[in-house]
């Protein structure tokens, strides 16, 4: 598009209308004035030559033949001013404009037996030259030239003015039509642009997530068809979204139901294994080994089901936060002590660091991170706790080879196994996912990466308890 070419739909419509109107009215003006002007000139010419002819014919019967000077004067007077009458050597002339009479006209008069005319322009004024030979008609109707020639010069300025007036009128009409066309173009542009604007607004709302947005189609034109199509598109997107949402909800409910249904038989199974554990002393060596395996697998199953139920609670949005004032450092120590891990972990922490958290959930997070580091990484496993202006940070690092690049994005996925061959690990596969959900429940975050020395590095960031959070407030994730 050129620099000056209008870009908007409205100026383009306007320009198009104006251009078409200008060209159309110019063409019409040209055609009309040309043909009307020609007709005007022609009819005036015909009228003038007929008048001259008639004026001559009205007096010829009084004119003697051969004519004398008086007869020529009589003829000249009958035609009017600016007239020249010639017979052989006799001339009768009146007026100054007879100089305009051309040789061509004289020749045509002398040679023929017809009235002839010629238009000339002199000093910007148009003139009509009329030349007429006067004929002698014999009794049998045969005509011969009498030798008398009459020339007269008539002013065509009046005709010129009429033609000019015609052009002016056409120009005025053209201007009026242009004005009308501009109004019409504005009106049309509005009619086209309004539905386009409405469609744009609807599309914006759809893009912003308002799937209920629709535009009422108006009329039966292409824009109405476009509107209907967009409405159908929105309809189908909305339908897909709803069915997807329904399917996800169904899947979550199924997982929740399954874990719930498993709990009751598992409690029974746990009770049975406890009895079994108490009586392993009396067993043979191989039977004892089997019983131990049954016990440990049952315990693992119980943990898995508990983790599944926890995940289901997060998915259902029914996880509740019970915040209280906690000393972060002693909470971490308590967690490690409860799991007999104090001697396996280096702790770098200040004396105390008060924070508002859900004590149980913090315990779950720390246990999962440390457990994960001990299980998959290598010693030394370090836990550092420190605070910055807005957050409390807990960093867990290990001395292992670290996380490979393709693992980092999936490390918090449910049942993700970094090593596909190692399918049987003590963990449920849900620990890190649950830790992340718990961190988010606190409006915090949990990230995974590698430390400067190459080991895996997990960072938990929890917002420091601010004054505007009510004590004992319960927060839920996902509405």
């Amino acid at each position: 598009m050129g620099r000056w070419w209008p870009r908007g739909l409205r100026p383009r419509l306007l320009a198009g209308f104006a251009l078409v109107t200008v060209l159309g009215s110019l063409a019409a003006t040209w055609a009309i004035t040309e043909s009307a002007g020609e007709a005007l000139v022609a009819s005036n010419q015909r009228r003038i030559s007929e008048t001259v002819s008639g004026q001559i014919g009205a007096v010829t019967h009084e004119v003697s033949h051969p004519p004398d000077q008086a007869a020529l004067d009589r003829l000249r007077d009958s035609v009017g001013t600016d007239t020249l009458v010639v017979f052989e050597d006799l001339r009768s002339v009146d007026g100054t404009e007879t100089d305009l009479i051309t040789d061509g006209l004289r020749e045509a008069v002398r040679a023929g037996d017809r009235v002839v005319t010629q238009r000339v322009v002199d000093a910007d004024r148009p003139w009509l030259l009329v030349g007429a030979p006067v004929m002698i008609t014999a009794p049998d109707g045969e005509r011969t030239p009498s030798g008398i020639e009459v020339y007269t010069v008539r002013d065509l300025s009046a005709v010129q003015e009429e033609v000019d007036a015609l052009v002016r009128a056409a120009a005025v009409a053209g201007a009026a039509v242009l004005l009308l066309a501009t109004l019409l173009a504005l009106f049309t542009a509005r009619g086209v642009l309004r539905p386009v604007r409405e469609l744009r607004d609807t599309a914006r709302r759809l893009a912003a997530g308002d799937l209920d947005a629709r535009t009422e189609p108006q009329g039966v034109d292409e824009l109405a068809e476009l509107t209907v199509t967009i409405n159908e598109m929105a309809e189908s997107v909305q339908g897909s979204m709803e069915s997807m949402e329904r399917m996800r909800a169904d899947a979550r409910r199924f997982a929740a139901d399954v874990s719930h249904e498993l709990r009751t038989p598992l409690s029974t199974l746990t009770a049975v294994t406890e009895v079994l554990a108490a009586s392993t002393e009396d067993m043979a060596e191989d039977a004892r080994e089997s019983a131990r395996m049954a016990i440990s697998e049952t315990q693992r199953l119980v943990r898995l089901v508990e983790d599944l139920m926890e995940v289901s609670r997060f998915d259902a949005g029914s996880a509740r936060l019970r915040e209280e004032e906690v000393d972060m450092v002693s909470a971490v120590r308590d967690t490690l002590r409860a799991r007999d891990r104090l001697d396996q972990v280096e702790i770098h922490a200040p004396e105390e660091l008060p924070v508002r958290v859900d004590r149980r959930r913090l315990d779950v997070i720390v246990a999962n991170l440390v457990g994960n580091a001990l299980r998959h990484g290598e010693p030394p496993v370090r836990v550092s706790v420190f605070a910055d202006r807005t957050h409390v940070n807990l960093v867990v690092t290990d001395g292992g080879p670290g996380l490979s690049e393709h693992v980092v994005p999936h490390v918090f996925d449910r049942f993700f196994k970094a090593d596909a061959a190692r399918t049987r690990t003590p963990g449920s596969g849900l620990g890190l996912a649950i830790a992340l959900e718990n961190a988010r429940l606190h409006d915090g975050d949990l990230t995974a990466g590698n430390g400067d020395d190459g080991g895996a590095r997990f960072v938990l960031r929890l917002p420091r308890a601010s004054g505007d959070i009510d004590p004992g407030r319960e927060r839920g994730v996902r509405g």
Binding site: G2, L23, T60, R114, V115, V159
Partner: protein, 165 residues
């Protein structure tokens, strides 16, 4: 590119049209035909009389000018003079003839009764009037109607000259 091209085309078109509109008006022209030349000059008038063979014969009177139909018929009524032809119209002291020209006929009111003329005399009047009319630029197909002083059906007849049928 496209806009440059179209703008050029549009400008050219507009200027051509403008020039055409402004340029129109009364322009000079060559010599062109504008109809039949006037006629009506003649050195005299042609009258019709009857010769010894009882036939119509034209007689040219040098009157210097052609004159009107009325002049010609009046001159006819005044007689042939001392020539070798005769007239079959009774002589009358009043020679005034009133002429009315219609599109297809000329009507003559003559100071005569039907008894004053023979059929040959009527032809004399018709031929004289018709010839004068033609020489004055009238149509050769024009008919002549002679209205006599007293009522007669002959007044209604539209006649032609037997010499030019």
């Amino acid at each position: 590119m496209r806009s440059d091209f179209s703008s050029t085309v549009v400008c050219a078109l507009v200027s051509v049209l403008l020039v055409a509109v402004v340029g129109c008006g009364v322009r000079p022209s060559g010599v062109s035909d504008a109809g039949e030349a006037p006629t009506g000059v003649a050195p005299g008038v042609t009258l019709y009389f009857v010769d010894d063979n009882d036939e119509l014969r034209p007689q040219f009177r040098r009157t210097e000018r052609l004159g009107t139909v009325s002049d010609a018929v009046s001159l006819l009524l005044s007689g042939p003079g001392d020539s070798e032809v005769r007239t079959e119209i009774a002589s009358t002291s009043v020679t005034n003839v009133e002429v009315t020209t219609h599109s297809e006929a000329i009507e003559l009111r003559v100071p005569l009764d039907i008894g004053d003329v023979t059929p040959m005399g009527i032809d004399q009047i018709v031929c004289t009037a018709r010839t004068s009319h033609v020489q004055n630029g009238g149509s050769e197909r024009t008919r002549v109607r002679i209205r006599f002083v007293q009522f007669t059906p002959e007044s209604e007849v539209r006649r032609t000259c037997p010499l030019y049928e």
